[in-house]
Every structure is written in structure tokens, then in C-alpha cells.
């Protein structure tokens, strides 16, 4: 039980490090650690499929993409544009106001804390696959079209323009 609080503390700590570190490469690495702690949260929730997908897709693919772009653009601490201190303080205050609003709203709602019994293994690949390919078959196919469109768009955008003579 206490492992949840420990991992939650780690996640918040590394998320803060992500946005406050000056060097963008360190920022990406801290974000990878944050996602790893979130993967541990998925395992604690017994959502094994999501844990594996989070591990492979987020940490393996998306974060490597970020790192590649940082490497390609040759960004480091010296080229990092920083906002003035006043804007930073105002941003931090705005974030805290958001947290205060959330906490005030959560004091009013009373979610039920009981687990619905007998469904402890809904997060396994077998059960999620059954739901995904029965009820959510159409959104699943549409998301494949979305991925194809994104791939074509990304290649088209990142390609160098050919100058016509």
C-alpha cells in the first residue's frame, strides 16, 4: 500500500524536474523516468497491457523521437530560450491556482472507494482484446487511418523542399 505513495512522490518529483531543468536533454531523460514511474502505477492497478504499451510506445518510441529531434537540432543549455523571472513566477502561481481549484472541487465530490469485486483481471491482454475487437472495432480501425495520415503528414512536412529551376 505504501508503495503507491512512494512511487507517486517519485513521479511528482521527476515531473517537477522535467519542467524546471534548463538543459532540454536532461528534461527528456527526467520525463522518461516519470513515464517509468507511471508504468509502475499501471502495474499496481493490475493493468498489465497498458503497462507494457506505456513502456514500449511512450518510453521506447515517443521519448526516443524527442531525443532524436533534440540531437538533430543540436540543442543544449546555451541555446535554451528562457522566460523572464516575472513570467516564471506568474506561471507558477497560475499552476498553483489550478491545483487549489482542483482540490476545492475534490472536497465536494465523494467518490466511492470500493472495488467492484470479481473483475480484478480486466487489465489482462485477453480481456482487453475481447472488448477492443467487439465493442470498439470501428474506433480501432479509424485510429489506424489516423496513424497512417499522421505518418504521411509527418514525412511530407519534414521533407526538404525541392527547388524547381
Amino acid at each position: 500500500m505504501s508503495i503507491f505513495y512512494f512511487v507517486a512522490f517519485l513521479a511528482i518529483f521527476f515531473a517537477l524536474m522535467t519542467i524546471f531543468t534548463k538543459n532540454p536533454v536532461h528534461s527528456v531523460l527526467y520525463l522518461v523516468i516519470t513515464f517509468f514511474t507511471l508504468t509502475i502505477h499501471y502495474i499496481l492497478l493490475n493493468a498489465q497491457f497498458l503497462a507494457v504499451v506505456n513502456f514500449i510506445v511512450y518510453m521506447g518510441a515517443i521519448m526516443v523521437l524527442f531525443l532524436f529531434v533534440l540531437m538533430l537540432l543540436n540543442l543544449n543549455e546555451d541555446t535554451e530560450p528562457m522566460k523572464s523571472n516575472l513570467v516564471k513566477i506568474i506561471g507558477a502561481i497560475a499552476g498553483m491556482c489550478l491545483i487549489a481549484t482542483f482540490l476545492g472541487a475534490f472536497r465536494v465530490i465523494q467518490p466511492t472507494n470500493e472495488l467492484v469485486a470479481g473483475n480484478a483481471d480486466i487489465g489482462l491482454v485477453k480481456n482487453l482484446g475481447k472488448v477492443l475487437f467487439n465493442e470498439f472495432l470501428l474506433p480501432f480501425e479509424i485510429s489506424s487511418i489516423l496513424l497512417l495520415t499522421a505518418m504521411v503528414g509527418a514525412v511530407l512536412l519534414a521533407k526538404k523542399e525541392v527547388r524547381k529551376a
Binding site: F4, I12, N46, V69, L128, L147
Partner: protein
């Protein structure tokens, strides 16, 4: 595995909600205080992940698999968004030689 399932029963759902909203607020703060476009996109990823975890937590507590399927779709969407967004950033960098968000302020007009 029984051990793990009995583990999450001890944690109130409230704590998951508070934890995820904290991560979400950190993401919003990151968007507000940074000027590097790539870090702003990373903050957006942080927000998406906070929502993902909350959906998975609700799904586990309700015993309903739909929430985890939504998380799967959000992950597919995030992958597409990152690919297109980073391509746009590379194109902007090629034209303006900077990743500063202020260099895009001409888009206002």
C-alpha cells in the same frame, strides 16, 4: 497477483484523483513557464499521461474495461500528435533557426 490486487484496495480513489491532478497541473505550469517548443510538447505529453492514469484507475475501481481501451486510443493519438508536431518543429527550426515559441508570434496576424 492476488497480493497486488489486495494492494490497490487499500488506496482510496481520492488519492489517485489528487495525484493525477497534481501531475496535470505540473504539465500546465510547464506550458506556461517554458519557451522551448519541444519542452512545451513534453509538458502536453505529461498532461496526457496524467489523464491516462486516471482513466485506468477509474476503470480498475469500476471493474469496467472500457476505460483502459480509451487509454489505448489516447496513446495512439499521442503518437500521431508527436510525429506531426515534431515535424512542424523541425520545419520551423529550418526557417527561423530557433525553437523559441516567440519566433512563431507572427502567426497572430
Amino acid at each position: 497477483m492476488e497480493n497486488i490486487v489486495s494492494n490497490i484496495q487499500g488506496i482510496p480513489l481520492n488519492h489517485y484523483i489528487i495525484f493525477c491532478s497534481l501531475i496535470f497541473a505540473i504539465g500546465v505550469t510547464g506550458v506556461l513557464i517554458r519557451r522551448n517548443v519541444i519542452i512545451i510538447m513534453m509538458s502536453i505529453e505529461l498532461m496526457l499521461n496524467a489523464v491516462n492514469l486516471l482513466l485506468a484507475a477509474f476503470s480498475a475501481y469500476r471493474g469496467d474495461a472500457s476505460g483502459q481501451v480509451f487509454v489505448f486510443f489516447i496513446m495512439a493519438l499521442a503518437a500521431a500528435e508527436v510525429a506531426v508536431g515534431l515535424a512542424i518543429i523541425i520545419m520551423v527550426y529550418r526557417n527561423t533557426k530557433s525553437v523559441d515559441i516567440e519566433s512563431l508570434s507572427k502567426l497572430r496576424w
